[in-house]
Amino acid sequence: MPVRRLIITLLIIAPILALLAYGFTRDAKYIKSPLLAKPATPFSVTLYDGKKVTLEDFRGKAVFLNFWASWCTPCRAEARDLEAAWQKVKDKNMIFLGVALQDLDDNAKTFLQEFNVSYPNGRDESGKIAVDYGTWGIPESFFIDPQGRITYKHVGAIRAALVLSKLDEAAKGIASAQEGRGDYEGAR
């Protein structure tokens, strides 16, 4: 009875195919960051103008921390937005800090000039900061509230409007439950 055999065949194959199709509904590389609503790991970074700053220095301010590199295309895409956002909040109790990853100093400085970036930027010399913050693609941005707690994380390019609203939330100490995503480039 071919029909019965055909049905049995279908019953065996269909679940396997369904399972594989289910695979498309999720991102295998996506692991929810455990950092949200946790204290931000302290670090210090040497800025391109030679000054040395630590995260502690910014206690009491809402911090926007951005990991980037001059060779990363989505970083270029967000650079003007970030600078525009910075211009709006630089007189408030808020600070921007850019940290370049896996970059050559000359290229990074050219990048900063090209986009007229005026907020402080430095280089993650040993790559340790990126590891502490669990970055796996850049750009990646962290919002830290005045008490030094991470309130929001965004993987990939971010728009000015979102930066401003999440900074407002950070200033009030409101932590998001979910991280956000945009265009990014794998760094591993």
Binding site: T9, R26, Q102
Partner: protein
């Protein structure tokens, strides 16, 4: 220009493939041979235009035509010509084109070789080839086009992933693809046999050599991959049970099972459904492998470029599975098996057991590979399945397999008599047991490795003993010496003796795996200048660091002098390569091999402040070299199976 030649060739080849699909339908309705010729021309057309497209892409890569996006992403002006050519399979689009190219070369050879034979089946064989080819051409032509242009034209390209800049890039991917694609031949014949309803042994006999060829390339591709991982990636291992590795290994299991079980079909007219199912599974797994690596549905340490093709591969996989198993279910009435097993102690049952073990191994590896998906679908949590699972479930299975490798080729068909068993296995069993006892007294105290080495000795001694008996007979009959006897035995039964040599190769590989899995030792140390580290019979002395700027990266090299049992073995230089676009440095490990063990040095760090200090990891891995030697033995055995030797009449065995 190159881009438009390439792309239009793909489109024309796609049309030829569609004609190839339709032509047997026409041929089946008309008696004229003219329509059958259409099918052959369809293959020829695909062959010509796919070759043109492949040559166009290679030309684009070699001439660094950055107006083609694929070229811009996979070469730079600084890339040596060698790696420009390998750029053809450096990313998704080109890999698919290479796959299609190999496929259509196989199809062309098949169409040519069988132009006078299998009149009924051939149009359908060509149709199956054309369906597979049309799928790939459709993906290349319309979804992930290697000839996509980019404007404005970049001044320089991005270049290959630095890890791919290795000599093995020339061998590993093409070998593996050839193995994958080669399985299309038996699959196409199996489907044609099902469609036509001619389910005797014709398709099995015709495709045996093709399957052996594909099997050899699969084996070689996996081994070269292991070698690459071992000597380049700098972690001291050759196999990590990563999903992508499993995807490359899985088709090997049903292909191996198939090579054994078709002998049962040829001899005893049994296992017909089973053989068809095996070849369908083997072929489906090659498509599944590509689906898995390119869809990104399972996280892997192998960063493959994926694209929008995942869904199409899944659809094609569904089509293949439902179509071929549906056909098999439909034809099952014709496949009623006649004979049954006469006895559990017979060659048939040994082969059957070998098949069951291989398929069980396939099932457990498949399950482990897709388990992250299952667990997330069912329990909602992500888990990953690692080497401990795979090792603990596959090692016992492979031990059974080794045992069967000693028994299968020697035991009698149908029903082995007590006399047959005693004659073939008494001495090998005695030899291997005493070998095991010696090992135990000498060094090996753990159960699993002891069992493993004893079984391997059993395989070797049973092969040698059997060959010695046959040689004695030759001497009695024809007065031939050992060498003459070996040659005439082989010429009388190439498959048997080729197969036995392949088994010896497999034994060597298993020996390497067993040795390196169980008796490796490793040590880490941070050494100051002229400090030494002792491991096993080795002493390693740190003699300084050196940095140098290379074209694409900065390289820090350590100088370590290796002493083995006190004698100076010279300086080795493990290095760390710092690529500006890579977060962590890429290691360049070095190893010195001997027949008994490898010493493997990895520079894991150095002090930026103090140039006279380095952190080093040293591994001593026994018997690894035998894996690679085993690979050559397998190649030799395969040649014995396939080479035209002027076959002599087989003597009854």
């Amino acid at each position: 220009m190159t881009a438009s030649i390439g792309h239009s060739s793909i489109v024309i080849a796609f049309i030829a493939a569609l004609i190839g699909i339709l032509s047997p339908l026409v041929a089946a309705r008309s008696a004229g041979s003219r329509f059958r010729a259409v099918a052959s021309y369809a293959i020829l057309g695909q062959f010509i235009f796919v070759t043109l497209a492949a040559v166009a892409l290679i030309y684009g890569l070699v001439s660094t035509d950055f107006s083609i996006k694929y070229v811009a992403f996979n070469t730079t002006r600084a890339t040596p010509v060698y790696y420009r050519v390998t750029g053809l399979w450096g990313a998704l689009e080109g890999s698919l084109l290479l796959w299609e190219w190999i496929l259509i070369i196989f199809a062309g050879i098949v169409a040519w070789v069988y132009r006078q034979r299998h009149h009924e089946m051939m149009p359908w064989v060509i149709m199956i080839f054309s369906i597979v080819s049309a799928f790939f051409l459709g993906v290349i032509g319309f979804l992930s086009n290697p000839f996509e242009t980019v404007f404005p034209i970049p001044l320089d390209g991005r270049g290959l992933n630095p890890l791919l800049e290795d000599a093995n890039m020339m061998t590993h991917p093409p070998l593996l693809y050839t193995g994958f694609v080669g399985l299309t031949v038996p699959f196409a014949f199996a489907m044609a046999a099902l469609i036509v309803g001619k389910l005797d042994d014709a398709w099995v006999v015709s495709t045996r050599r093709w399957t052996i060829t594909a099997w050899f390339f699969l084996t070689a591709g996996n081994l070269v991959g292991a070698w690459w991982s071992y000597h380049v990636l700098g972690w001291g291992g050759y196999w990590a049970w990563d999903p992508v590795e499993n995807a490359a290994f899985m088709p090997w299991l049903p292909a191996t099972a198939f090579l054994h079980s078709i002998q049962v079909q040829e001899r005893r007219r049994m296992l017909k459904v089973w053989n068809l199912a095996l070849i369908i599974v083997a072929f489906s797994l090659t498509i599944f492998g590509t689906f898995l690596t390119r869809s990104g549905i399972i996280s892997s340490i192998h960063a493959f470029s994926s694209g929008p093709v995942g869904g199409f591969f899944l659809g094609f996989l569904a089509f293949i599975l439902l179509g071929s198993f549906g056909l098999l279910a439909y034809r099952a009435d014709l496949l009623k098996e006649q004979p049954e097993l006469d006895s559990m102690v017979s060659r048939e049952s040994a082969f059957l057991l070998n098949n069951i073990v291989l398929v069980s191994a396939l099932f457990t590896i498949f399950l482990g590979t897709i388990f992250p998906l299952i667990s997330e679908a069912v329990a909602g949590t992500q888990v990953s399945v690692g080497a401990p699972y795979f090792n603990s479930v596959t090692v016992p299975l492979f031990l059974v397999l080794v045992f069967l490798m000693g028994v299968g080729p020697m035991i009698a068909w149908r029903r082995a008599s007590w006399d047959n068993l005693r004659r073939n296995f008494l001495w090998p069993a005695a030899i291997s047991l005493s070998f095991g006892l010696l090992l135990f007294v000498w060094k090996v105290k753990d159960f699993l490795p002891l069992l493993g080495f004893t079984l391997l000795a059993f395989v070797v001694s049973s092969i040698l003993y059997d060959t010695a008996l046959a040689l004695r007979t030759r001497k009695r009959i024809a007065g031939e010496g050992i060498l003459r006897g070996l040659i005439s035995l082989t010429r009388r039964n190439q498959r048997r003796y080729g197969g036995l040599v392949v088994h010896l190769g497999v034994v060597l590989i298993m020996m390497g795996i067993a040795g390196s899995m169980t008796y490796s030792s490793e040590k880490d140390a941070t050494l100051a200048l002229n400090q030494t580290l002792d491991i096993g019979n080795y002493r390693v002395r740190f003699e300084g660091l050196q940095g140098s700027q290379q074209p694409t990266h900065f390289r820090v090299e350590g100088a370590f002098r290796v002493f083995h049992n006190g004698s100076d073995e010279g300086i080795v230089n493990p290095a760390l390569k710092f690529f500006p676009t890579q977060q962590s440095p890429i290691g360049r490990a070095v190893h010195q091999s001997s027949l008994s063990e490898d010493i493997y040095l990895i520079l894991s760090g150095f002090s930026e402040v103090n140039r006279n200090q380095a952190t080093l990891k040293v591994l001593v891995r026994p018997l690894v070299i035998w894996m690679w030697i085993g690979g050559f033995v397998i190649a030799f055995g395969t040649i014995i199976c396939l080479a035209p030797m002027g076959r002599l009449k087989p003597q009854a065995d």
